[in-house]
Amino acid sequence: MHRTGWVLTFLLLTLLVGTLSVGAQKNIVTMSLNQGIGTIDPAKVTDWTEAMVMVNLYDSLVTPKPDGTMAGLIAREWEISPDGLEYVFKLHRGIKFHDGTELKAEDVKFSLERVLALKQGYSWLWADIVKEVVVHDDYTVAFILKEPFSPFLSTLPWLAIVNKDQVLANKKPGNFGEYGDYGQEWLLNNDAGSGAYMFKSWTRGNEIVFTKFDDYFLGWREGAIDEVRAKEIPPGNDATVIAEMRTGALTIADHYRSLETYAQIERLPNASVKTALSGEALYLKINTKKPPMDNVHVRRAISYAFDYQTFIEQIDPGAKQLRGPIPDTIAGHNPNAKMYTQDLAKAREELAKSGYRPGQLTINLCYVDGFELEERLALLFQANMAQIGINVVLQPETWGRITDLAANVETTPHLTAVFSAANYPDPDNYLFTAYHSSAAGTWMSMEWLQDPEIDRLIERSRVEVDPVKRNELFYEIQDRLTDLATDIFIYALPKRYGMQNYLHGFEFVPVMSFEYDFHKMYIKR
């Protein structure tokens, strides 16, 4: 009896104290992450969450502007040789790493070498392109390319500059000779950057925290954010996001939430939703080597059968259907490329041409498990295909598993819903990694196109320095791809961000995660 009494008292007490609110003096910003962070080593970054960390902890030579062109960051200015083979960067003086030492040209050279040696993360951007990095003096560094690569500058935001001395001071024995493990182990739990924020703590599977670096070389404005906390809230827990946006426990709701969630955030008095047409596009990638999808008529049939209208009107209202593989926000987009619209008569006609009968085909569609938008897309696709007698089996998988399936042409599903990563604002970003034969075997190239003509055109576009000629090549590629119906080109993703009204300075940038640059943001109540 006494014990129950105790329990009740205890519960009551807890309730009372529980309702007291928690105050904070610093400017703390909390954001949600729809998925976990695998690594904070800048040489290994792949996912948007990891990129978000990199953007804030590290600096790069250049950084993308809202219009997709490049602005200098630690590079004061740069020069490109007329043959497109040499890029010389002049660095700002007095940039400090978090440990107080100065950032110099040698660190830039070391950073690229480290990325290339580890062969992870974004190393593929430069692996076959950069011949060497030459340090002219402490503040001048040159990149020598093997052959001209027009989008090179656009790729450089991905090269995070690490503190060479600090990394080497913390190296462990490893496979890289004098560099040991290249500081891999240490960089799992530490940062060696010069970025606006310093790593503070990381609870794997839960939360990462970074704090303001007071000596940041660009300085700080009033209302600057002192501390950033990014916490993992899985896609199934959108309800939490809404609740915490309401209470203010969350400052930013990331851009991978369900539309319903943004709709509800919009209704909150203290928060609003920002929308931006991004360079990120959604495709259903068709494995063009796997029967019956090797038949171009089948591919065209399903392209005609899909109900684009319902998708952009009902599922993601306000979105724009994609015309070919390249979103119209990217210079080089072909405004005259063929755009499929739903036309069941044409779909049936194409199916008839393919030689398959209605009811005969069963194809599978793979998408990310629990990703609500893709799931709705998949259900819509399934219903559409049923109308022309194609049976669709839905195959939700984890993202990790999808990247694994993409490794072989046999395991790659008939169709896979994939968002193209907007790694750099150039058509090459959308074309080379997806359609060039040498890029086969990744989640970006699940089409397995391997078309010699396309290969040739892409190669030419990469070395072409003249922008006009490049555009002509891009137009041709886009026309060919839409004709081949290598994908169902769905739409350019309008990215939505839920934000507390007191947060200002947010600016959309069409490169993955660069919009989450907290140095630009500030708080004004």
Binding site: D238, A239, Q264, E372, E375, R376, Q382
Partner: protein, 286 residues
């Protein structure tokens, strides 16, 4: 036992069973749900919503006379899908127990009756399997073998038999020295005869009660698995998946979670009440 005796005994059982209102409720709930599930295409308002179907003009409709439980994120009727969702639960329970119970009973009989190394082997095996939480094991196996209903069910059955082996083994050990078993042995009855005709009938009530209870447990587990997205492929409806999907739209679209959750609860409660009634009637202490 003569037929008349049997009937009288049955009548007695029924009388005792019917004395408890909860047992009757349990029986009615269980039978109704099984029937409704079998007849789902005829008794639901929109049977096509259980299959390949989308209607984006009617998404997120709150409960109304047209959609008693409201509609979901692609405009499907939640009432219809809940009823069809029972199929997944019941098939799961039926298959898992259909494999696990006979397997466990036979292994339990054999180990209890023969003893020796067979007994040690089987009982140690059960020890090992029982050291793992069934849900963790099921998650592991279905994650490993892929989100396939068949695999998941096999995985669960492979864990579940151990409970029955334990139960039957314990009873056999206590029964094997009973007089009537010894009498049968002296009279030269075969081992098979003794195991299945003399010992098994005495374990039957306990097995029946446990099976009923476990049916509820498997359903709970299958709901848990499908809650994590394992075991079902969309668009096939499963109650756990519906709860999980609905939870994304809480609290505004509460009906998406609340009704499927209630549907699970009704079935689980029904089975538990039924099991309680059976336990009283058959005088089983589990």
């Amino acid at each position: 036992m003569k037929f008349a005796d049997f009937r009288r005994k049955l009548a007695q059982y029924w009388y005792r069973f019917s004395q408890n209102k909860a047992s009757i409720a349990g029986l009615i709930i269980t039978v109704t749900i099984v029937l409704v599930t079998i007849l789902a295409p005829y008794v639901t308002p929109y049977p096509e919503h259980a299959g390949v179907f989308v209607d984006f003009r009617n998404t997120f409709k709150p409960p109304s006379s047209a959609n008693w439980f409201g509609t979901d994120q692609v405009g499907r009727d939640i009432f219809t899908r809940s009823i069809f969702g029972y199929r997944f639960s019941l098939i799961m329970a039926g298959t898992v127990l259909g494999i696990a119970v006979p397997l466990g009973v036979v292994l339990g009989l054999v180990s209890g009756y023969f003893g020796g190394w067979i007994e040690s082997l089987i009982m140690r095996l059960t020890d090992i399997v029982l050291a793992l939480p069934p849900l963790a094991m099921a998650i592991a196996v279905s994650a490993v073998l892929g989100s396939d209903l068949g695999n998941t069910m096999i995985a669960l059955a492979m864990i579940w038999w151990t409970w029955y082996a334990r139960l039957v083994h314990g009873m056999v050990v206590s029964l094997r020295n009973e007089e009537y078993v010894e009498a049968a042995q002296i009279m030269g009855a075969s081992k098979l005869h003794i195991m299945f005709r003399e010992i098994l009938p005495n374990c039957a009530p306990a097995i029946l009660v446990k099976t009923t209870l476990d049916a509820a447990f498997v359903i709970e587990l299958s709901a848990g698995l499908s809650f994590l997205g394992l075991g079902v492929r969309p668009p096939e409806p499963a109650l756990g998946t519906m709860v999980a999907e609905g939870a994304r739209y809480l609290p505004a679209n509460w009906w998406m979670t609340v009704f499927p959750a209630l549907a699970i609860l009704v079935l689980i409660f029904g089975l538990n009440w039924l099991a309680d009634g059976l336990r009283d009637v058959l005088d089983v202490d589990l």
